[in-house]
């Protein structure tokens, strides 16, 4: 064993490799992205690793490999399970042949945006086992255990991480000499009773098999001792802890000890396998303890299970958690929750302000709405949409511009305030059609990024074409899945595609759908982009504008510059128009003129397009 400092995502990737994974597929989503990013960097021989077009496809790729008898894994953030779930529950019913691990990262406390949903609910709904490790070291070990559990029970197995453990670094004990596993020959089973859902008999038999597999998984988990239970004093406090919160116990116990808490009196059940519910262990705890404290982030799934068992056993003690109002269902847990819970369960006098810092200071902090990077091509598109709406004779508030997931949503923030909705991958298109059918007479515009278009935007576009719903779709194509840190997608240029992969081109896809009202523009050319959008929104039918220019981040890394921008100080009267319209972080106000930070500036020239005093010059464009 060697010690390495790594994130939980790295640990999961390494654990899967050391378990002999053969196929890994996923879609980028903070905070889960790091796992596949790490594997792509490692490029392990004999292992197929891919960014799939969306989570449903990723899941199916991994499941197909598992049906062929291999060990496979798919990765996604919690929102991705919503996308994959149609196939996921069906394959849960079928069971698998090899080993299949579904890695999902939840985001309690919402550091990355989207619903604060608790994926443990998906494990319950699909009757699949779920492991919920705490530290990166535990992630490394339990990922390997997950493959064993999957193969022993014929069931896909969830590994659930949260932002705090998948994106934080800690010391991991890594097996320096992982077992060399023989190559498995793929198997081809032709069993419609297992692999199809054709008919009631098949489906109901599969449902029974599914429930039996989960029960078997529960036995395997108990025999493997995944959920340690220690009994303290009879009639004392019993703590049940799930997932990430476990790592805060030791520190919380030390603090609570100063207020009368006694660890050796306390019973403790640490749930590493949160599903199936550990009925026997909970019954043991209920018979032993007078008070039960449940420490789990987000939804009270464990707690509700304990209430059921308490009812079955006629338990008369207290259960402290969310359902009695001690904790809320929102946000991340930490040390303070452990201490507060112990205080509530044992009626200890722990000062309320022990962990309450002064929050009044924060109210003085300047608001810092996030905006697009200096040199981001989306800046030009948002500016052009705003200008086009105005030039077409509409007020901004009279026109609906729906938004989508990814960097393109930054158009919601100042100075653009262009897009008004953010729902889920691809939703900009369906929502736009709904506004039209809902009676909106002004132009309706949908905006979407390239990766989101491939992911779930295409069906929405097909729907608009079939029903001839008048709308203007603006595809902001920067060639990368950028918000999650520059992953390669189907449209990324050839040189960055994996060896043997092909590049797709939105410019060929859209006309192939029969759309003849189609324009390609360079968003750094503000006048032309504005003219095209202004024209498009006035026309009937489905119109598509492809605003295409590469994301500035990867372009810069290759030494590219769009051009060189220079301030002519004597022409500048500090009217601030460039700052007001572009909001570009590279521009600051100097004494007598604006100042452009040459390190930040990419030379896109959009600021020059806003200047009516010739105070900003663009030279030598190379793009």
């Amino acid at each position: 064993m060697g010690k390495k400092l790594m994130t939980g995502n790295d640990a999961l990737a390494l654990g899967a490799l050391h378990a002999g994974v053969k196929v890994v597929a996923g879609y980028p989503g903070t905070p889960s992205t790091g796992a596949i990013a790490t594997l792509l960097t490692m490029n392990p021989p004999g292992v197929h690793v891919e960014w799939s077009v969306n989570e449903k496809v990723a899941f199916e790729v991994a499941a197909g490999a598992a049906w062929a008898g291999q060990r496979a894994m798919c990765t996604m953030k919690m929102a991705g399970v919503n996308v994959a779930f149609d196939s996921l529950i069906s394959i849960a019913y079928s069971g698998i042949v090899g080993g299949l691990v579904i890695y999902v990262a939840d985001d309690p406390g919402v550091s990355a945006g989207m619903a604060e949903q608790d994926s443990r609910g998906f494990a319950i709904m699909s009757d699949l086992p779920m492991l919920d490790p705490s530290s990166p070291d535990e992630i490394y070990r339990l990922t390997q255990v997950a493959f064993d559990l999957s193969e022993k029970t014929g069931s896909p197995v969830f590994v659930r991480l949260v932002t705090a453990n998948c994106s934080s670094y800690a010391v991991v004990n890594v097996n320096d000499d992982p077992p060399v596993r023989p190559e498995r020959k793929p198997v081809l089973l032709h069993d419609i009773n297992k692999f199809t859902k054709a008919g009631s008999a098949i489906c109901m038999t599969q449902h029974r098999d599914l429930i039996a597999r989960l029960q078997k998984a529960g036995q395997w988990i108990a025999e493997a001792g995944l959920n340690p239970l220690r009994l303290g004093k009879a009639g004392g406090l019993g703590i049940v802890v799930g997932g990430m919160v476990d790592s805060y116990l030791e520190e919380g116990f030390e603090i609570a000890s100063g207020f009368g808490f006694n660890l050796s009196d306390t019973s403790l059940l640490q749930l590493k396998a949160v599903h199936p519910f550990p009925t026997e262990q909970v019954q043991t705890l209920l018979h032993h303890c007078k008070t039960i404290l449940v420490l789990e982030e987000l939804e009270p799934y464990i707690e509700r299970g304990i209430y059921v068992e308490a009812h079955r056993s006629g338990y008369r003690g207290r259960i402290v958690g969310k359902l009695d109002g001690v904790f809320e269902r929102v946000g991340e847990y930490g040390v303070s929750h452990v201490v507060k819970g112990i205080g509530a369960a044992l009626d200890l006098q722990i000062p309320a302000d022990l962990f309450q810092g002064k929050s009044d200071a924060e109210k003085l902090a300047a608001a810092r709405p996030i905006t697009v990077c200096a040199g981001c091509p989306h800046r030009g598109t948002f500016m052009a949409i705003n200008a086009a709406i105005k030039k077409a004779g509409f007020k901004k508030d009279d026109v609906m511009v729906t938004g989508d997931i990814g960097c393109t949503i930054l158009g919601m923030n100042p100075p653009f305030n262009t897009v008004s909705t953010e729902v889920s991958m691809g939703a900009s298109l369906g929502l736009a059609q709904g506004y039209v059918h809902g009676g909106v007479k002004t132009p309706v515009i949908a905006t979407i990024g390239d990766s989101t278009f491939y992911h779930a935007g295409i069906p929405g576009l097909l729907n608009a074409i079939q029903h001839q719903t008048p709308l203007t779709l603006v595809i902001l194509d920067n060639g990368w899945t950028a918000m999650t840190g520059m992953q390669v997608n189907p449209g990324t240029c050839e040189q960055f595609q994996q060896s043997g992969d092909a590049r797709l081109d939105i410019a060929k896809i859209v006309p192939a759908l029969g759309i003849d009202q189609f324009w390609i523009v360079n968003p750094f050319d503000l006048d032309e982009t504005t003219k095209v959008i202004q024209n498009a929104i006035k026309l009937p039918g489905v119109k598509v504008v492809l605003a295409r220019e590469e994301c500035t981040m990867p372009a810069r890394r290759r030494g590219l510059e769009a051009g060189e921008v220079r301030v002519v100080a004597e022409n500048c009267n500090l009217c601030k128009l460039c700052v007001i319209i572009t909001g570009c972080p590279a521009i600051t106000l100097g004494e007598d003129s604006i100042v452009i930070d040459n390190d930040l500036c990419y030379g896109c020239g959009l600021c020059a397009a806003t200047c009516n005093l010739d105070a900003i010059l663009v030279e030598g464009a190379t793009v």
Binding site: S168, E250, L364, A365, A366, A482
Partner: protein, 218 residues
């Protein structure tokens, strides 16, 4: 299966928690990574939890660094940080509730004004407000270490990297230096980048001497 609390002896380790805040692009995460790397190489248990949010550059960034405890959750409780390192004046306010009374608050006084502030449409806190809030939360025994941006030493004609300088100041001015000798961190600084070794080493050395040169006000 688990190595956590079931069979462990209790002993109080030497622990040290650092809460870092700044704006994306300032190198605040690099400060955390360098300390984490040096601590790891020295065999000190470390947990490092960077949070970048959605912003590639120009957004609020924080990181939580916890040294000395093998089993630990990555989030520092409010009033729990032995030290705050802030590299932007306004963002420093977001760390105030995490500082432990009696701790150290290191502030590099860079102002990165959001657009609305630049246009005069939104307020920005004064330095006195920020330092006052920090002192108030630190209470007796705590210390503020303020590094004015103008005091950055110059190497070959331009100011040295502020994050490396700030890191060295923090090591020299606080108890962190007792847990983690400056030489170990300097080693991490020297081996991290292939280019600019001399420049970074100069920044680091200057930071260690900053109190004497008057670059740091407490």
């Amino acid at each position: 299966m688990t190595d956590t609390l079931q069979n462990r002896e209790h002993k109080t380790p030497i622990t040290y928690d650092i809460y870092l805040v700044g704006v994306g692009g300032q190198g605040i995460l690099t400060i955390g990574e360098l300390i984490a790397e040096a601590a790891f190489r020295k065999g000190i248990p470390v947990s490092f939890y960077p949070t970048k949010g959605m912003a590639q550059r120009g957004g609020f960034v924080k990181a939580q660094l916890r040294l000395g405890r093998a089993t630990i959750g990555p989030a520092i409780p409010e009033k729990g940080a032995d030290m705050v390192i802030a590299t932007e004046v306004s963002e420093a306010l977001k760390a105030v509730r995490y500082i432990k009374p009696g701790g150290d608050f290191v502030l590099f006084g860079h102002v990165w004004a959001p657009t609305a502030v630049m246009l005069g449409k939104a307020p920005y806190p004064t330095l006195d407000q920020v330092l006052g809030a920090a002192r108030n939360a630190l209470s007796a025994g705590g210390r503020v270490h303020y590094i004015a941006e103008e005091s950055l030493p110059v190497f070959e004609g331009s100011p040295v990297p502020d994050n490396i300088f700030t890191l060295a100041v923090a090591l020299n001015q606080t108890r962190l230096g007792e847990l983690l000798p400056a030489a170990d961190v300097e080693q991490a600084v020297r081996t991290r980048w292939k280019r600019g070794i001399e420049r970074n080493a100069f920044a680091f050395e200057a930071g260690l001497k900053a109190q004497a040169s008057g670059a740091v006000a407490t």
